[in-house]
Amino acid sequence: MTLVPTFTEDVSTLESDGFGTRSLTWWGVIGFMVIEAVGFALLFAAYFFLMSHEQSWAPQPWHPPDLLAGTLFTIVIVLSEIPNTFAKKAALRLDLEAERRLLPWVIGFGVVLLVIRGFEFNSLNIFWYDNAYGSVLWAILLMHTVHLATDFGDTFVLWRLIETPHGQQKRRFVDTEENALYWRFVWGSWLPCYVLIYWLPRFFQ
């Protein structure tokens, strides 16, 4: 550097690895959440575009999806926010023991959800190849399942990670906190999916 430096501020005393907006990865998570939210929104737009051509929705003579599995899934995924919130709070107060206790609960919920999800595909009353209505229902459900499975995998790996000595690093608490944030996106994005898959085909028959 040919320009002579003049020293102004000492940054060595600043905190390292902040939470929330102070963390780079938090911004990365938000970025990808926006991308995926746009993806969901566009798929919903495609749903309404296809729906707008129809006299009835579900189109005759198809029956709307059965409610049981989807409703059960919705209840369970909302309940999963309880261990998720506790895990997030544990991360924020840097409580590793609590984290190690709570993440298995989140994972347990994930397992239950994935099982119910299997039954959901079975309750749509239509296949993806039958018509565009069927295609779009399957697409929404599948797109959400990809998110569910991905975050389930993430959480599992994170749990294994904090069970190692790496869990003591502050970085891992930040990771846990951001994982909890992403889980909120997973269940938050489900709620409109639930309405579109299960309820609109009932209302507009």
């Binding site: 390292s16 990365g28 565009a132 069927g134």
Partner: protein
């Protein structure tokens, strides 16, 4: 916290001693593995740029081939089949493999330097994105050479590209190329956005950000909001083709227009994703060569943001001929015309800056003048086709071909060539030859006009686009002949430009700041060291190097033996936290490879997605799993 024992930069550790320590920390292993493991934004950015230029050359050669075919009516240089493949490959390559990646490449290279940080956010993700992009390009061109490249046009309309009429793998290749490139572009956009928002040098408030950085921020956000649309669209198409969904099949409640809406929801912003970085180049070059700050900086920023937002409301103007409700026509026209107001404001500000300054007519500046002469024609022909009654005639003719080449070449490639000439000394430490530069400049500028201006005429005289030949007697002979001559002149000039790029590696030494420019990238050496800046600069104005002529205010206290970044606050860029920066890793490359295998195989069987996830997941876990507890990790629990 036990931080006292660590080496940190500062008044006690500066100069060569600091630099050699930082060099060690920020270096990567040698050899092929080391090369593939690089997470240096400068290396990745340069790879993006070089790769994109190679694709430009391929697609450009294809254009020349097509111009030979169109030189004469009823010509038989190319078969219909080859011509259709060629214009599809030309458009797909230019849009997805050249224009967006080259702009992102320059952004990856320059943004961290311009905001005064040591590396960009998520450097491994950025490295991953490069390999994904490269994979997409190799996939497309390999399939093309094997005879099943796409052939339905770069916007791949259904049903022509659908399961019933798009026979063979052509259309799957197109869709999967898009998946590759958009995954890459989205990853880069997230990394760039984060870099701009959180890693600006202390004091570089939003209001002091270089305009190129503003353009980077706006385009990255546009990528985030628009590219999911084409990603989704190509997935719906693939699922129609591979597993029999019915999204676009009108016989089964689907609709071919769904394709067009989703495509153009991405496709129109895409144009601005290419153009806005170019406006960033222009603002930087105009400032430097006019020797003064940008006139009405806040207006330019507002114009950038307004363009970015308006771009999302215009997609329908690509679909005027599909039978939209007539009551909406005037609204679509007004909306499409409105986008020219912010662009007009930017043009005013550039001219006002030049007017009040004292321009130096170096090659980069010449390209900016050429830009103004050319782009304004494209902008005004854009106003013409925004009017529905005019567009219904001009749509899908050579007038449109002329329009978008004026906008994209005049509006983005001219500034890009200027930018390459301008920043070449920063990348290489050498100046490009101004003599060769000026010769190729004039040939490109004049050749371009000769190639593309007559296309307005051939369009008006009734020549639709995407025809492999045309009948004699319609008056199309002369304009087509001129276009072909002009195209070859441009081709020669580009060769000369590339020659200049190569021989200038041995050119005159540049020094840190050869143009006496004002922004931070010129405060470090050319080429910059792996760590970019020995001390993180502190910024006090919009033109830091002009307002402190002999010294550079810096902050200090970052780790020297580990990669560490300084994060600052969102708006006012006050120092906030420190954060480690990723070290070189081979796993992004392996992950990209695993993802590439999934994408390629899924063209042939949807089961590939299911089986391909396993190696991909393993690679990703290996990527993110910390390798060893670093000795200096600031463990919070003893």
């Amino acid at each position: 916290m036990s931080t006292g024992t660590l080496l940190r930069d500062g008044p006690d550790l500066t100069g060569p001693k600091l630099e050699s320590a930082l060099n060690f920390t920020w270096s990567r292993p040698r050899g092929l593995i080391g090369w593939l493991s690089s997470v240096d934004h400068k290396e990745i950015g340069a790879r993006y740029i070089v790769t994109a230029l190679i694709f430009l050359a391929l697609a450009g050669a294809m254009a020349l081939h097509m111009r030979l075919q169109l030189m004469l009516p009823g010509n038989r240089v190319m078969s219909a089949e080859l011509y259709n493949t060629s214009f599809t490959m030309h458009g797909t390559t230019m849009m997805f493999l050249f224009a967006v990646p080259v702009m992102q490449g320059v952004q990856i290279y320059l943004t961290p330097l311009m905001v005064g940080t040591r590396n960009m956010a998520f450097p491994r993700l950025t490295a991953f994105s490069y390999y994904v992009y490269l994979g997409g390009g190799l996939f497309l061109w390999t399939c093309h050479f094997l005879g099943f490249g796409p052939d339905d046009g770069w916007f791949n309309y259904v049903p022509l590209s659908g399961p019933q009429y798009g026979i063979g793998k052509h259309s799957d290749v197109w869709a999967q190329t898009v998946t590759f490139t958009e995954v890459a572009a989205l990853a880069v956009a997230v990394a760039l956005t984060t870099t701009v928002l959180k890693q600006r040098a202390p004091g570089m408030t939003l209001a002091r950000m270089p305009l190129f950085v503003w353009a980077t921020l706006v385009t990255s956000l546009m990528v985030i909001f628009s590219m999911p649309a084409v990603e989704l669209d190509s997935m719906l198409l693939l699922s129609d083709r591979l597993v029999g969904t019915q999204f676009f099949n009108p016989a089964e409640h689907g609709d071919p227009l769904l394709w067009q809406h989703l495509f153009w929801f991405f496709g129109h912003p895409e144009v601005y994703i290419i153009f806005l970085p170019a406006t960033g180049f222009i603002s930087e070059i105009v400032t430097t060569f006019s020797r003064r700050s940008m006139f009405a900086y806040p207006i330019v920023v507002l114009a950038l943001v307004a363009t970015g937002i308006l771009a999302f409301g215009l997609w329908v103007h690509h679909m005027f001929a599909t039978g939209l409700p007539r009551v909406g026509y005037s609204f679509y026209t007004a909306a499409s015309i409105a986008v020219s107001i912010p662009t007009g404001l930017q043009i005013f500000c550039w001219i006002a800056t030049i007017w009040q300054g004292r321009p130096r007519f170096e090659v980069p500046f010449l390209y900016i003048i050429a830009f103004l002469f050319t782009f304004v024609i494209g902008g005004l022909s854009g106003v013409i086709i925004a009017a529905v009654p005019l567009d219904l005639q001009l749509h899908d003719t050579y007038f449109i071909v002329a329009h978008f080449h004026y906008v994209l070449i005049g509006g983005a490639v001219f500034p890009l060539l200027g930018a390459i000439t301008y920043w070449y000394p920063k990348l290489t430490g050498r100046m490009m030859s101004p003599v060769l530069g000026k010769i190729s400049f004039w040939m490109i500028f004049l050749g371009f006009q000769l190639a593309f201006f007559p296309m307005h005429i051939s369009g008006i005289l009734g020549m639709p686009r995407r025809v492999y030949t045309y009948p004699a007697g319609m008056g199309l002979e002369l304009p087509n002949m001129l276009s072909t001559i002009g195209a070859f002149a441009v081709g020669m000039a580009v060769l000369l430009f590339v020659l200049n790029l190569i021989i200038s590696f041995g050119g005159e030494e540049a020094g840190d700041n050869p143009w006496d420019a004002a922004s931070l990238e010129w405060a470090t050496s050319s080429p910059p060291p792996g760590y970019n800046f020995a001390h993180v600069p502190a910024v006090e104005s919009r033109t830091p190097l002009w307002d402190n002529r002999d010294h550079l205010p810096v902050v200090y206290g970052l780790k020297v033996e580990e990669r560490e970044l300084l994060l600052t606050t969102l708006v006012s860029a006050a120092s906030e936290t420190r954060e480690p920066s990723a070290t070189p890793s081979i796993w992004p490359f392996i992950s990209a490879l695993a993802l590439g295998v999934v994408f390629v195989c899924s063209v042939f069987s949807p089961w590939a997605i299911l089986f391909g996830v396993v190696p991909l997941a393993i690679a990703l876990i290996a990527w993110f799993w910390p390798k060893k507890p670093e000795p200096s990790e600031e463990a919070v629990i003893a």
